[in-house]
């Protein structure tokens, strides 16, 4: 266990950023926080969480896959992959850290997505315990401990100091580079942890009943009438999907600038009407089916294929940001009541 005074945070960031890019949450002009590249003068945000999740670090919204040059009947393939470079993300909350496991199970299973894998290998995740969880937080429902986030390094912030606990080899290696850190006692943060856990106890959805969901519940839930009412006012926008740390659907598109064709992937949302639309037909013709797909995937299909692990980490972003305030908690509660 190491520590550094809060007043010295800047020197810590500078030290980390010495040989790599460092992303930290900073407040934007509207007071919300975003992961931004640290530079001299960056100020760590005190918000509970960023608007966008930390998945951007490995799975950016838009990513060039490759390029092509077409001349007559000839096609030439152009490599467009960014060179591998190591980077660190500081201030990842417990929920987002868990989301990486969920994404890994998609992108790192065969056939491995090398774009994702490359970034995943090169990252050092420095997590940060949640001092002041929001009422929208419900990570504890998924067995996540906001007081003890995972990651290569775990940090805690008290009034005076930032405590630093490397968990992995990568974390240790980074720690070794950081001479600004001084030794600290593990016991120093027990009080902080206890306080976080005490707050977590009070979270309204901290003990959300998930028993209606999980492996093998497809038949039970798929045709339930509640879907219609739940999805009724869904606008079909992609806000929930794009800010969700575990949503990973993507589209592959091309951009032809007249000289070369760039094939890129970008986030897509199963909430969009054209997600499954084919010239031949549309298997999910209304928003009800599309809405259902999103939640069934997170709460049933994903657990089906992943030993019961839910593809939700309780970060609460969708609770805050859905334009019509429909969210996974309402779905879980409504369906839960319906199946009782």
């Amino acid at each position: 266990m190491k520590k550094i005074a809060i007043s010295e945070l800047n020197s810590l960031f500078a030290a980390i950023a010495a040989d790599r890019k460092l992303y930290i949450p900073t407040d934007d002009s509207t007071g919300q926080s975003q992961f931004t590249i640290w530079e001299e003068g960056s100020i760590l945000s005190r918000n509970v969480n960023t608007v966008r999740s930390a998945k951007d670090s490995f799975f950016p919204q838009v990513e060039n896959l490759m390029g092509f040059k077409v001349t007559g009947k000839q096609i030439e393939l152009i490599e467009t992959r960014d060179p591998a470079e190591s980077f660190a993300v500081f201030g990842v909350r417990a929920c987002d850290v868990r989301s990486f496991d969920i994404l890994d199970r998609v992108f790192l299973t065969e056939p491995v997505d090398t774009y994702y894998a490359q970034r995943r290998e090169n990252v050092c995740i420095i997590s940060l315990a949640c001092g002041k969880p929001s009422e929208t937080c419900f990570c504890t429902a998924f067995g996540i401990d906001p007081a003890e986030p995972k990651g290569d390094v775990t940090c805690w912030m008290t009034g005076e100091a930032l405590y630093w606990q490397p968990n992995t080899e990568k974390g240790e290696a980074l720690t070794a580079q950081l001479s600004v850190l001084v030794d600290a006692d593990v016991a120093d943060i027990e009080q902080e942890k206890a306080a976080i856990r005490a707050t977590a106890e009070k979270l309204p959805f901290g003990k959300l009943d998930l028993s209606a969901f999980g492996q093998g519940k497809t038949k039970e839930l798929f045709n339930r009438p509640e879907w219609k009412a739940l999805s009724q006012s869904c606008l079909g926008c992609g806000t929930c999907t794009f800010i969700c740390p575990t949503c990973q659907c993507y589209d592959i598109q091309e951009f032809n600038n007249g000289k070369t064709v760039k094939r890129f992937r970008c986030w897509d949302s199963c909430m969009y009407s054209d997600f499954t639309k084919m010239s031949a037909g549309q298997p999910r013709p209304t928003q009800t089916e599309r809405f259902r797909q999103r939640f069934m995937h997170k709460l049933v299909y994903y657990p089906d294929n992943n030993e019961g692990i839910f593809a939700c980490v309780g970060c609460g972003r969708c609770l805050r940001k859905c334009p019509i305030h429909m969210n996974i908690v309402k779905v879980i509660k409504t369906m839960g009541e319906g199946t009782k």
Partner: protein, 323 residues
């Protein structure tokens, strides 16, 4: 506010309407969801009209008014502008709608409270000022500070079209809603460019602004249409960010009622209303005052002209700070 719920019950019970479009209680005090209620029981259980009924319900009428039976809808003054504009564009079947106008003193939502400094909110007491209960203690904030952006520059308390009114009919109110636009206009082009880059670069192209907008109700949006030439799912670069928002603002020019929903729902807090308002301001200045949705008869300025309209070169001479 209870009267609104009572009216919903009364309308359903009397058989005047078969459905009611209103707001449904959420898990918190602030997360109301627009919903269609089909029975008195549903209304009694879930209907609520409160300080957090900010969502503009009129867009839902495009689909709902085409269904069997009559639907009642509750419209705040700003919503009623959208309601009228949609009627002008033949998008809703008025005969299937029973419109109840409700007066409004401004709305809040969770995000507006959060930006006023509340975190961990568990309850609220509405009064002269708001007392917000949080996990970390109570907080008292001025109501004005907690109001939605759109309510802070409310343009009218007039309910343009309704079958019945709850509360008083209001009037257009003086508002300084163009002050922010004017402030931007007064900047140098470089400053303006920097301002918009900062704002628009946060866009994640979630389409919330588009999908919530009552004017953005095309059967198929150009941005979803592969043959439109502008289709794109992602903000691939700065051009796409600009393009999307310019085209979107242009497409709602003279149709935007300035209901402010776009800015309310933007997860990234981009002040999108400043784009729409710029067009409104320009139209007012160049072609005479026009407010979409304020009446049934006026001709939309982009579908109209005068022989002596100013030439496009007017923008070269108006300068940054347009008068």
């Amino acid at each position: 506010m209870q009267r609104v719920k009572e009216k919903a019950i009364e309308l359903l019970r009397s058989g005047e309407v078969s459905r009611v479009l209103g707001w449904k209680t959420g898990e918190f005090f602030y997360d109301l969801t627009p919903a269609v209620f089909e029975s008195v029981e549903e209304v009694e259980k879930g209907f609520v009209f409160s300080l957090f009924s900010g969502a503009n319900l009129s867009k839902y009428l495009i689909a709902e008014s085409k269904k069997e039976g009559k639907i009642a809808v509750f419209l705040k003054p700003c919503d009623s502008f959208s309601f009228v504009q949609l009627q002008k564009e033949h998008r809703i079947k008025r005969e299937n709608i029973y419109a109840v106008g409700i007066q409004c003193d401004g709305m809040c939502d969770g995000e507006s409270l959060r930006s006023a400094g509340c975190e961990g909110m568990t309850g609220v007491e509405d009064g002269e000022s708001l007392t917000v209960h949080t996990l970390y203690g109570d907080q008292v904030i001025e109501k004005k500070e907690a109001l939605l952006g759109k309510c802070q520059t409310c343009k009218s308390k007039r309910i343009v079209d309704f079958d019945e009114l709850i509360g008083q009919q209001g009037e257009d109110v003086p508002s300084d809603r163009f002050a922010e636009v004017a402030k931007l206009e007064a900047m140098t082009p470089e400053e303006r460019f920097a301002f918009w880059r900062t704002e628009l670069s946060r866009c994640i192209r979630c389409n919330a602004c588009r999908n919530v907008c009552p004017a953005c109700s095309c059967e198929k949006c150009v941005f979803d249409n592969p043959v439109s030439g502008v289709q794109n799912k992602a903000v691939a670069d700065s051009f796409e960010e600009n393009m999307f928002h310019i085209i979107r603002a242009f497409h709602v020019t003279a149709r935007c009622t300035d209901c402010g929903e776009c800015s309310r729902v933007c997860p990234q807090n981009i002040p999108l209303h400043l784009l729409n308002r710029k067009f409104i301001k320009d139209i007012n200045e160049l072609y005479g005052d026009y407010q979409a949705g304020a009446d049934f008869d006026s001709r939309p300025p982009l579908m109209d002209f005068r022989m002596d309209d100013p030439e496009p070169s007017v923008i070269y001479t108006r300068g940054g700070a347009a008068k």
